[in-house]
């Protein structure tokens, strides 16, 4: 029998390392016996996860029935001068992407699903523009704003879980500043000419808040001092 030189515990005859500290077993008197069967089985098995397909089918049926009923009502009884059922069907399609795809695509990365959700939003905007004959605002206003929001959201989705609380606050603030600047740019360009105003106020406030966070984040002495002064 062998003992771990670090932990002082007796080990299995077939143990090549201590399971507690990973120290290799080197015992010329009693070498590792690889011929005996292991103490635990080596075959792994996993229970089958819950099948979400039934829930997905149920939700798909609900969205499908709602869309179909609205189309029938729209075409046969209640026209009101526009294909309003297309907006309802578009909303159902967007909800389908938001709720059913996560049930079916359980192994894909969440950022991929968020990307699909954002694409569904773009598709819904396109459907609304087609239904209300608003093609002009789609390309010049809605899609640029959607693009800016999507880039910021995907960036934050990817980066936030990896960062500390201070870094998260800075990233969220910085993203808000960038988004507001982009939003005013899109709106101003749509209305005629770029004259930045309110977004600059937001940017100044955001950067003012970020600056102390940045200094505290990268100056450990200051961080300790702030903690001491604020008793946290």
């Amino acid at each position: 029998m062998s003992y771990c030189v670090n932990c002082g515990v007796e080990l299995d005859k077939d143990a090549a390392r201590c399971p507690l500290c990973q120290t290799p077993v080197v015992n010329p008197v009693c070498p590792v016996d690889t011929t005996i069967p292991p103490n635990f089985p080596v075959e792994r098995r996993e229970v089958e996860p819950v099948n979400r397909r039934e829930a997905a089918v149920l939700l798909s049926a609900v969205y499908g029935v709602v869309s179909l009923c609205c189309v029938v009502l729209n075409l046969l009884f209640w026209w009101r001068g526009m294909p309003w059922s297309a907006i309802v069907a578009g909303a159902c399609a967007m909800l389908w992407v938001w709720t059913v795809l996560p049930l079916l695509l359980r192994s894909v990365h969440s950022i991929f699903l968020v990307g699909l959700d954002l694409l569904a939003v773009a598709g819904f905007l396109w459907v609304i523009s087609m239904a209300v004959d608003g093609g002009s605002w789609l390309g010049r206003l809605a899609l640029p704003i959607w693009w800016g929001c999507s880039v910021v959201l995907l960036f934050l989705w990817y980066i936030l879980p990896l960062r500390s609380i201070l870094s998260r606050c800075m990233l969220v603030l910085g993203s808000c500043v960038v988004l507001m600047l982009w939003l005013e740019l899109c709106i101003d360009l749509f209305l005629g000419g770029y004259q930045p105003m309110w977004s600059l106020v937001v940017a100044v406030v955001g950067v003012t808040l970020m600056a102390p966070l940045l200094i505290i984040r990268y100056r450990p002495d200051l961080r300790r001092e702030v903690r001491r002064r604020f008793h946290f």
């Binding site: 771990c4 932990c7 002082g8 515990v9 007796e10 080990l11 299995d12 143990a15 090549a16 390392r17 201590c18 399971p19 507690l20 500290c21 990973q22 069967p37 103490n39 635990f40 089985p41 080596v42 075959e43 792994r44 098995r45 996993e46 229970v47 089958e48 996860p49 819950v50 099948n51 903690r227």
Partner: protein, 428 residues
């Protein structure tokens, strides 16, 4: 005897603990535990399957399915054949989903080891050990041994006794006070998670006699001593992390209520106590931790206090406005409440079902017993121990890569002069 509601209809209600375990059971949490007996001879699978087939009809409460009603889950007798014996696997205590083919009780064999996994909604460790002991006796009889029905072994030729399936919580929820406790957040003791469904198991074997002497030299019982050593290991881990503000280290220690409230039930009948150490108050020596654990357990394990907690738990179960909440909403609420009140205030779980006693004719056929707890919500290790003869088996099981808690734990035992043998299912 309290008659189970719906008994004559072929279904029956879950008890208070079972409701919680059913609501929180998910792919990332496994309310499944395992008892294993390592036999003197290699297991005969045919004889063991015959023993299972003979034993299970005596324990109808273990051969059930969980069905989802509108307002509650409920148990329904499982008419499908089985449970069937399976070759053992490396990653035990897999989660249970309430699908048709899922068995709430599973049996495995591997070389000398017979294992039984039980979903916690069916029974606690005390109840499950009655079934396991009876199964082992029937198995040995199948091999030609003469084993008497003593030391808690039930006669499988008798009809099942309804008293064995009473909801003892409901029976003893009679306190005038609904005792409410708010527990602060404890150090979570989490580590790097393993890939999905991996359960790392590390077992240590110690002499019961030697352990009892060491515990006695510290003025504590074995459970109190082991709990204190575990707390010390977790405190050391927290200190190594270099946290600016250290959180209290607290254990959830399930207490078998049967000695305090007489019942023959094999269903759940446990509560937990929460010994804790707050390192912000200062550094504690092992002696001081043992003293804290010892006095906390003696102070809080009282019939009156536990009855107040039972009354509070059962009150929520019987509160009409809560009863009328549909199951999915109720599951969500219970799950959230468990994360806040059942998981956050504890660093880990330590359970000790006690000594596994068998008739003397049976004793030479069993080498030792083992117990394993399933995976927690968070990647951390749970600790469990069980003794048989002079062998105390201590298991650390969890979905965490690091081994520092168990390493410090067993090193402390070695430093206290105990001989420890360690084995693990971790692959290098």
């Amino acid at each position: 005897m309290v008659r189970r509601r719906g008994q004559d209809k072929g279904w029956f209600q879950l008890d208070n603990a079972a409701m919680m375990y059913s609501a929180i059971q998910s792919g990332t949490y496994s309310a499944v535990y395992r008892f294993s007996a390592v036999m003197a001879r290699e297991v005969d699978p045919q004889a063991l399957q015959r023993a299972i087939d003979r034993t299970m009809p005596r324990f109808p409460g273990f051969h059930v399915k969980i069905r989802k009603g509108v307002f509650w889950y409920y148990f329904e007798p499982d008419d499908t054949p089985g449970p069937y014996l399976q070759p053992d696997i490396q990653n035990p205590c897999q989660p249970v989903y309430f699908q048709n083919k899922d068995q709430l009780i599973r049996f495995f064999y591997y070389r000398h080891r017979i294992s039984m996994e039980v979903f916690h909604a069916l029974a606690d460790g005390g109840g499950a050990l009655v079934l396991f002991k009876t199964l082992l006796a029937v198995y040995l009889r199948e091999l030609g041994e003469e084993i008497p029905n003593q030391e808690g072994i039930l006669d499988v030729d008798e009809a099942p006794d309804p008293q064995e399936w009473e909801d003892a919580y409901a029976r003893y929820a009679r306190s005038r006070v609904r005792l409410r406790k708010s527990e602060p957040r404890a150090y979570p003791c989490t580590g790097t998670p393993e890939p999905f469904y991996t359960l790392n198991v590390t077992m240590g074997f110690v002499s019961v006699q030697a352990l009892r002497q060491v515990a006695k030299s510290h003025g504590a019982s074995i459970t109190e001593y082991l709990a204190a050593v575990l707390i010390q290991s977790i405190l050391a881990r927290q200190r190594r992390e270099g946290r600016r503000r250290e959180l209290p280290v607290a254990l959830a220690i399930p207490i078998n209520l049967r000695p305090y409230f007489p019942t023959r039930t094999m269903r759940n009948f446990i509560l937990t106590v929460r010994p804790s150490i707050d390192p912000e108050l200062g550094d504690y020596t092992l002696e001081e931790i043992i003293s804290q654990v010892h006095h906390h357990m003696r102070l809080h394990i009282t019939r009156q206090e536990m009855q107040g907690v039972i009354t509070r738990n059962v009150f929520f179960q019987n509160f009409l406005p809560l009863q009328l909440v549909p199951v999915p909403v109720k599951n969500f609420v219970v799950d959230t409440a468990y994360r806040l009140a059942g998981n956050r205030p504890y660093s880990t779980t330590y359970t000790n079902p006690g000594a596994f006693r068998v008739p003397e004719q049976m004793a030479p056929h069993i080498q030792h017993m083992e117990v394993v707890l399933g995976q927690s919500y968070t990647p951390r290790v749970n600790c469990a121990s069980i003794s048989y003869g002079d062998v105390m088996e201590i298991t650390f099981a969890g979905t965490v890569k690091e081994t520092d808690v168990e390493r410090d734990f067993f090193r402390t035992l070695v430093q206290d002069g105990l001989h420890v043998k360690v084995t693990s299912n971790r692959r290098e």
